[in-house]
Structures are given as structure tokens and as C-alpha cells.
């Protein structure tokens, strides 16, 4: 399988990239690491007439601390993020999830921004952005805007990004000292897309949960935020959580799908078990500490 022919540009600035995207009138596609896009091109599911390679844009790689959060430049490689000390300290949920993004070889090319921008519903990075309440910076010739991750995803590979817009950064808010990271997923083989899974963080203050951010992957057409479960968790003590009741609430907003790998019912059943098991294990650790 070879891609349909296309042209290729590698702009050095956001302005140049946006100009190309604008002129192309919807016929251009942005490529960063290419680990999701290249299969789509090779299978001819995507047939742009021009590819805009953002790997060479100045400032498009790296992790920086910003007031109240941590900002990841979009073309930061997943492999680099996995080893990044700032992310390990401030966004550990993202690092936990990253270890499950594709394989060693694809993480060497794949980027955080590419995964967030494409919006594969079973992927870890979109779910993590939703769970943690990340903010996605976007630019076009018309100006810039910042979209909350929770308003970014519309469906599988569908987002609020306009065809002329480019993701320029993702900011993950701080969750405070001593927060609990929750992550688990089930995949057929390591590195495959999750059949079901979730990621999240509980912010703590003296044994009390002050804030919860949790989202499912592969449990609907987009990452699914567990909004009701989050609301119930806030204000509770760790040992006061009714895990069975909570997992029912957590599942309520999901709309899992059937495919050749798993039925919707399977995803729901296993997802619930996985959620309960992970929560129980996480709370145990806290009780000992």
C-alpha cells in the first residue's frame, strides 16, 4: 500500500505553516510524528494534496513549566516525554499513560501533539488530556484560541479544529502535591489500542480528595470524561469511597462500540472491573503510606 501522491512542505514558523493550511482550503494535512497519519495515508483513508510537516517549526519541541501548569510543545516525541523529569514530577498520569502508547519504535517518532490532535478514541493521549483538563492552544491565519480538551473532541478522528488550524501546544494544569495517579488499560497485545481503559488523577489534601479528573478510552466515539464520578469523589476521604457505586457512575456516560476485537458489553464489563481493581489497589497503597 502506497499513499496517493501529495506535495510536501516543512515550514519553519507557525505563521508559514498557517499560511499553507489557509491557502490549501482544506486540502492540507499536518504531519508531525506520522505514526497515526502514515498508516491512514498508506491505506489511502486520508488523501491530502499537501502535507505540512511541523517537525521543523521553531519551539515545537520541548516541555516547559508555565504558571499553574506544564506545557508540552506539539512535536515533542513521545519517547522524550516518557523520560522527561518535569513531566514525571508534574504530570505523572501522562507519563503512566505514555508507556502504553504504541511501541518503543513508534514512540521514537510519535508526538504528543499529533496524538492529541488526531483524536483516536482508543488512544491514551486524548483521554489523558480530557482527564487532566488540559488546554489546547490553536493557531491559524485568523488568530489564536485555546480550547479545553473537554470541548475538543467531537467523534472518532473528529475535533473542533478547523482545516486551517494548527495545534501549537498543550498545557496540563497542576494537580498539587501528593495526588494519586490512576491508570489501567486492557489491550490484546502491549502497544495495541486499548479495548478499554482509563486514566486520571485525584488531587488530595490531608487524605481528602479535593478534585478528581478521570476519563475513559475506547468507551465511546471520543474520550469520555467521568463527570458524575468526579463530582462524587470531590470532598470525599480516600477510605470513604464506595467503589462499586462509583464504578456504576463512572460507566454512565460511556457509549462503547462493538468491533472485531470486543463487544460493547465486554468493554463495559471489563472496564468496570478494571476501574474497581485499579481504584482498590491505589487506595490500598495510600492506606499503607
Amino acid at each position: 500500500m502506497k499513499p496517493a501522491p501529495f506535495d510536501y512542505v516543512a515550514p519553519r514558523t507557525v505563521a508559514e505553516a498557517c499560511a499553507v493550511l489557509s491557502e490549501a482550503g482544506g486540502g492540507a494535512t499536518v504531519i508531525a510524528g506520522g505514526q497515526t497519519l502514515m498508516p491512514l495515508l498508506n491505506l489511502r483513508m486520508s488523501q491530502p494534496f499537501i502535507l505540512v510537516d511541523v517537525n521543523h517549526i521553531e519551539g515545537f519541541s520541548g516541555v516547559t513549566r508555565v504558571p499553574g501548569g506544564t506545557r508540552i510543545a506539539p512535536a515533542t516525541r513521545q519517547a522524550a516525554a516518557l523520560k522527561d523529569g518535569t513531566l514525571a514530577a508534574h504530570v505523572p498520569a501522562l507519563v503512566s499513560a505514555l508507556g502504553h502508547v504504541g511501541h518503543h519504535q513508534t514512540r521514537n517518532r510519535g508526538t504528543i501533539g499529533g496524538s492529541v490532535a488526531l483524536g483516536e478514541p482508543a488512544a491514551e493521549m486524548p483521554a489523558t488530556a480530557v482527564a487532566l483538563g488540559a488546554a489546547i492552544d490553536v493557531a491559524s491565519v485568523r488568530g489564536t484560541r485555546t480550547v479545553p480538551a473537554r470541548e475538543f473532541y467531537l467523534g472518532p478522528y473528529m475535533t473542533v479544529l478547523e482545516p486551517d488550524e494548527l495545534v501549537t501546544g498543550i498545557t496540563y494544569p497542576d494537580w498539587g502535591e501528593g495526588h494519586v495517579v490512576l491508570f489501567n488499560e486492557l489491550a490484546q497485545r502491549p502497544g495495541d489500542f486499548a479495548l478499554t481503559g482509563f486514566v486520571g488523577t485525584l488531587a488530595l489534601d490531608g487524605g481528602k480528595i479535593t478534585r478528581a479528573g478521570l476519563a475513559w478510552m475506547a468507551m465511546g466515539p471520543t474520550p469520555v470524561a467521568m463527570t458524575e464520578a468526579e463530582a462524587v469523589l470531590a470532598g470525599q476521604t480516600l477510605d470513604g469511597i464506595d467503589i462499586a457505586a462509583l464504578s456504576d457512575l463512572a460507566l454512565r456516560p460511556t457509549a462503547p462500540f462493538d468491533d472485531q476485537h470486543a463487544s460493547a458489553e465486554y468493554r463495559r464489563t471489563v472496564g468496570k472491573r478494571l476501574f474497581e481493581k485499579t481504584l482498590r489497589a491505589a487506595l490500598q497503597v495510600k492506606e499503607v503510606a
Binding site: 500500500m1 502506497k2 499513499p3 496517493a4 501522491p5 501529495f6 506535495d7 510536501y8 516543512a10 504531519i31 506520522g34 505514526q35 502514515m38 498508516p39 495515508l41 498508506n42 491505506l43 494534496f49 502535507l51 510537516d53 517537525n55 519517547a79 504504541g102 511501541h103 518503543h104 519504535q105 513508534t106 521514537n108 517518532r109 497485545r189 502491549p190 502497544g191
Partner: protein
């Protein structure tokens, strides 16, 4: 559509050629570089057979465009052995531990391990085995590949022509 001039270093030699933008790095290495050790299996990132080393990191050459490799330093399976023909430790480990049958997946596996070994002479066994998950072996010879990984981690490559050394 557009033809692009691409210049990169492949196995220590300069390779400059024009190519269509849509040409994958894997196809480019085979067609313009003569590196037929680059095996393209699935061409959509699943099998890992096409893995090569780009600027020190193992990547899938079917998921990277040749134009994106402009200026890069690439090593394929052909470039691993020394000039005198002596095998790279990874090749030696694969040979000693029966790490291949038909050999289709092998160049990719060898490049993945070599990138890790060349970065850190004694990589962790867990790290090597984790990286193995990025490869499918249609002959299902995973145990031999695993043994090779273990030998690399333990630094026992070349110490014995025997296979199946004590666990």
C-alpha cells in the same frame, strides 16, 4: 506530484537522490540505496519488519517519509557488521540463540536491539523485551529472540557457541 531532493547518510555513505514526497523512507532505502535488508511487511506500522535506526533511534521506515529523513543518519541491518565482516553483538546474539527462522522479521528486530545496545552497552533485559513487542515474527520464533535479548543484557554474547545456556 512533487519531486524532492533528499540527502542523507546511510550506513556511513552519503545517499542523495530525488524522490516523490509520498515515498516512504523504507522504499527509498530499498530503491535508491539498494538496502534490500529493509523488509516492508505490512506498510502500516504493525509488524516492525521495516525498522531501521534513524539518528540513533529505532523507527519504522514505513511510517516515515524519505523527505522527512533529509540530513539524517540512517543505519540498516546492512550497516551493523564491522567492515571486516565480524558481526555486531546483536547479530552474534541472534545467531547463537537461534533468533531467526525465515529471517523476514530479523532485520527489524536486529535494528531495534542494536539501537538500544549502541546507546547503552548493557541494556536492561526488560527494556529489550519491551521493545520486542514492536515486532511480529510470523515464524513465531519469539523464544529465540528472547534468549538473544537475555544474552545481550547479561553480556554473555560470544562466550559460548552452545545455545540454551543455563537460565
Amino acid at each position: 506530484m512533487s519531486e524532492h531532493r533528499v540527502e542523507l547518510t546511510v550506513n556511513g555513505a552519503r545517499l542523495a537522490a530525488t524522490t516523490e514526497a509520498r515515498t516512504s523512507l523504507g522504499d527509498f532505502l530499498r530503491l535508491k540505496g539498494g538496502c534490500t535488508g529493509v523488509h516492508l511487511g505490512c506498510e502500516h506500522g504493525v509488524c516492525g519488519a521495516c525498522t531501521v535506526i534513524v539518528d540513533g533511534a529505532a523507527v519504522r521506515s514505513c511510517l516515515m517519509l524519505a523527505v522527512q529523513a533529509e540530513g539524517a543518519t540512517v543505519t540498516t541491518a546492512e550497516g551493523l557488521a564491522a567492515a571486516d565482516g565480524s558481526l555486531h553483538p546483536v547479530q552474534q546474539a541472534m545467531r547463537e540463540n537461534h533468533g531467526l527462522q525465515c529471517g523476514f522479521c530479523t532485520p527489524g528486530v536486529v535494528c531495534t536491539f542494536a539501537a538500544l545496545v549502541d546507546r547503552n552497552e548493557r541494556p536492561d533485559e526488560a527494556e529489550l523485551v519491551n521493545a520486542m513487542s514492536g515486532h511480529l515474527c510470523r515464524c513465531t520464533g519469539y523464544q529465540g529472540i528472547r534468549k538473544a535479548a537475555k544474552a545481550l543484557a547479561e553480556g554473555t554474547v560470544g562466550q559460548s557457541q552452545q545455545t540454551g545456556s543455563a537460565a
